[in-house]
Symmetry: C2
Subunit: 213 residues, 2 copies
């Protein structure tokens, strides 16, 4: 008997002879929202709005023609003077800015510029109603990761058709090979003392504009 076999024998002995197959692990994940929670599309949007608020982020609703106005209102509300944006955000989102300077991240802004900005405006790749989450994948209107991690305020434009019910539904929409950032409310972290600290690893303030087309 080798040392390994002897060790395993002792482990088995210590565990006892007849342990059975162990408790069953449930594998029936909730891949969709319960029918009661998501009877209509409006219910899904209402759930998203509610959960985003639970995550201590603000939500504004806007029609397709009102995105520029909603973005301007959100930035004025935070007294933002200078923001950064991915170069490919639709111009219409920023068309109403008055007294707010927008810097496009092309060529790439340096970290000092990102840190000095009063905020960043992006779109998203998908959003999850059940968890109040927005997901960025670096695609159109989302920019590189530093853009949404360095500035202290993130204003995210979410189109209603980007919102799914659950995380599994979002995963099926997303490309796992892309750099995915899942954002559920402002950045928050817990040290070993279990004290909640916000804004350390990302924006202290998150605000969402929900566009119902």
């Amino acid at each position: 008997m080798t040392a390994r076999e002897e060790m395993l024998r002792r482990v088995r002995e210590a565990l006892g002879g007849s342990r059975g197959p162990g408790p069953p692990v449930p594998r029936g994940y909730a891949r969709r929202l319960p029918a009661a929670e998501a009877a209509t599309r409006a219910d899904v949007l209402a759930l998203f709005t509610e959960r985003v608020a639970d995550n201590r982020a603000a939500v504004r609703h806007a029609g397709a023609d009102e995105v520029g106005t909603a973005v301007a209102a959100a930035l004025w509300g935070r007294e933002a003077k200078e923001i950064v944006v991915p170069a490919d955000v639709p111009f219409g989102w920023l068309a109403e800015l008055d007294g707010v300077r927008a810097l496009a991240d092309a060529p790439a802004l340096d970290l000092d510029a990102l840190a000095a900005a009063d905020g960043v405006v992006t779109g998203c790749a998908a959003a999850v109603a059940q968890t109040g989450t927005v997901v960025l994948d670096g695609g159109r209107a989302q920019g590189r990761r530093a853009l949404t991690l360095v500035p202290g305020f993130h204003l995210c434009v979410v189109h209603a058709d980007q919102i799914v019910g659950t995380v599994p539904e979002a995963v099926t929409r997303l490309d796992p090979a892309r750099p995915l950032t899942w954002i559920s409310g402002p950045s928050a972290t817990h040290g070993i003392e279990a004290t909640r600290v916000v804004g350390v690893h990302g924006p202290l303030h998150l605000e969402i504009i929900l566009v119902e087309d």
Copy 2:
């Protein structure tokens, strides 16, 4: 013999008995550029640039990071003070405008506003080297037709990978169900006197920014 048969008999008689199958009609359309003209990708871009110039339009070249600068330079060059744009043009294209006001077409601007504008900035759906043509299909960054037909100056951003060699190649890229606008130089038309008149049915001035990514 019916009247129809009698008529056809007389037509055949008048045409003569033995006309043969008629002259052959060539069906071997030039679907691609001759190899000598398009040995490399750079040749295709050079041909596009040359043909656009032949069409009396100006071409500027820009790197992917320089589109904003090139757009600003083109507008300053025409002393434009106010332009109109589709709401979804990438913000980066307009990020360097200084002293030029951009109006997004959302909600839709009225015709007076379009007519009063000093120009319009759009992208395109495809471009053809052999004919120096840009094609708009109303898709992203292109807007509705009135936007590029009413203002007197059209500045069109073309990415190198949108340029194909020939019209047949462009047709295979485009969706025939979309409203396609094929633009080969500034608007020009000929009345019955065969006098060339420019700028009647569209922009008097066309300028193209060729972005080599």
